[in-house]
């Protein structure tokens, strides 16, 4: 193999038709619309750009790291023995995701989506690595961690996992906005196309930041690299997520 191979599994993972519960989440868009902060194409564009630069970038880096960890634990047989102790790394990486998500509503949404994705991925790409992740984080892995692990097991590279995570960070809210505001779906896809360079940048940042226990030369550890992953926060998304949880009328879980 000289040229990097193209991985069709990436398309399956990124497709909104992947039956993993994503359709029930708006990534804060429903709350932003309810607050009047997103009301048309320009405000949606600004929302998506900000989301991608913050939680989208963080998700991309976590997903890339999870992908690298999945690949290295599959290769080295450290996926954990089927009945015994959980394999090293997953709980630590998941805790890094939790420390970057201040809002409990967002943590819960992330864990629910991660749990649903892992359930689906384990049936599509059965692997002791995914079983190990489910055991290591019984409350449900954060979504970027589950996504990256699934990508790794499906044979994707860390950069591809990062791209899928960044893509999911903007397509979920975009679809929700089409439904909730009745925006022209073609115009909204145009906004997404405009974000393509930012998506690619997030993917390459993610791939550059990814580390697995196998790839980090001592004395550094994978955990010390994960600690330094980007942590861009979006205070407005935090406030919107908490407000959404308390809204009487809502279509989306988050």
């Amino acid at each position: 193999m000289s040229a990097p191979s193209l991985n069709a599994a990436l398309l399956l993972l990124a497709d909104s038709r992947l039956p993993a519960g994503g359709h029930g989440h708006s990534g804060g868009a429903e709350a932003a619309i309810a607050a009047g902060a997103v009301r048309d194409l320009p405000t949606l564009a600004a929302f998506l750009r900000g989301r991608l630069a913050t939680s989208g970038l963080v998700a991309a880096c976590l997903a890339a790291s999870a992908c690298a960890l999945a690949a290295s634990s599959a290769g080295s047989g450290t996926a954990g023995d089927p009945a015994g102790a959980p394999p090293g790394g997953w709980a630590e990486l998941d805790a890094e995701a939790g420390a970057r998500t201040a809002s409990p509503a967002q943590r819960e949404a992330s864990r629910v989506q991660g749990r649903l994705l892992l359930r689906t991925a384990r049936r599509i790409w059965p692997s002791p690595v995914l079983d190990g992740l489910a055991r290591a984080v019984p409350e449900g892995a954060h979504h970027p961690v589950a996504l990256g692990a699934a990508a790794g097991v499906a044979g994707c590279a860390p950069g591809e996992a990062a791209l899928a995570a960044a893509y999911a960070a903007v397509t979920g809210p975009a679809t929700a906005a089409v439904r909730l505001l009745g925006l022209d779906p073609v115009a909204v896809h145009r906004l997404l196309a405009d974000l393509a360079p930012d998506l690619e940048r997030a993917a390459s940042t993610g791939s550059g930041a990814a580390a697995s226990p196998a790839s980090v030369p001592p004395p550094r550890t994978a955990a010390s690299v994960w600690a330094e992953l980007p942590a861009h926060s979006a205070p407005a998304l935090d406030l919107l997520a908490e407000r959404h949880l308390r809204a009487g009328l809502r279509l989306f879980v988050s």
């Binding site: 804060g28 932003a32 607050a35 902060a37 997103v38 405000t43 600004a46 929302f47 998506l48 750009r49 900000g50 989301r51 630069a53 913050t54 805790a95 890094e96 939790g98 420390a99 970057r100 998500t101 201040a102 809002s103 409990p104 509503a105 943590r107 600690a227 980007p230 942590a231 861009h232 926060s233 979006a234 205070p235 407005a236 998304l237 935090d238 406030l239 919107l240 908490e242 407000r243 949880l245 308390r246």
Partner: protein
Amino acid sequence: MTARAVLATAPGPGGRTVLATMRSAPPITLRRTGPGQVYLVATAAGPLGGDDLALDIDVAPGTALDVRSVASTLVLPGPRPGSAPEESSMTITARIGAGASLRFAPEPTVLAAGCRHRMTVRLELAPDARVLWREEIVFGRYGEAPGRCRTRFDAVVGGRPLLRQEFTVGDPAIDASPAVYGDARCVGGTLITGPPGTAGSGSLLAGEAVIGDGWAVLPLAGPGVLVSALAPDAAGLRRRLERGETAALPR
């Protein structure tokens, strides 16, 4: 200018806290104003572009420290007008030992037009350390577009990550995003940790988030809460943070 100020406590007689080290490094000048209480006093303008400033805080086990400042910090571009501004940086490292408590609540940092600033905070907490750490950032003086600023905040409790946050200010496409700061011109947060029910500053609210107008008390994944707030101006930001702090620490 490169400067590194150091502040360290030690247990004194009768359970009191003494300041074992208090080393000012202009422009960061430290002034003791009471037992276990220190004011940060700026003795020069800035930070200015090119400045590399650091403050190390060590709160010894069982001691208590209260750090404040007299005035807000105005971050200015470097002294070389015309050329691309150099970055200024401020790095604060704090270790808070077992049973120790730290209150760190200086006045806000104001990002003047044209500045390029980096703020790094690293907190290492013992599992039962009590901390109230407030940070406020104001996007430019009145009517002014802010320069650029990147902040990174890492709080680690007993070696486990509690909160990691970065803010980027000064990219107009992101600043005004309804997902990031929306209409706000100020962003702030107060990290509060400590065992629930400890005396002194009341008990730490556990469990559910509390939300108000422009603020929220967010229970973190680890042992602590973050009061997060956005506001149109500095006075409003302080009010919102204080409201959240009160909700988090009912008297």
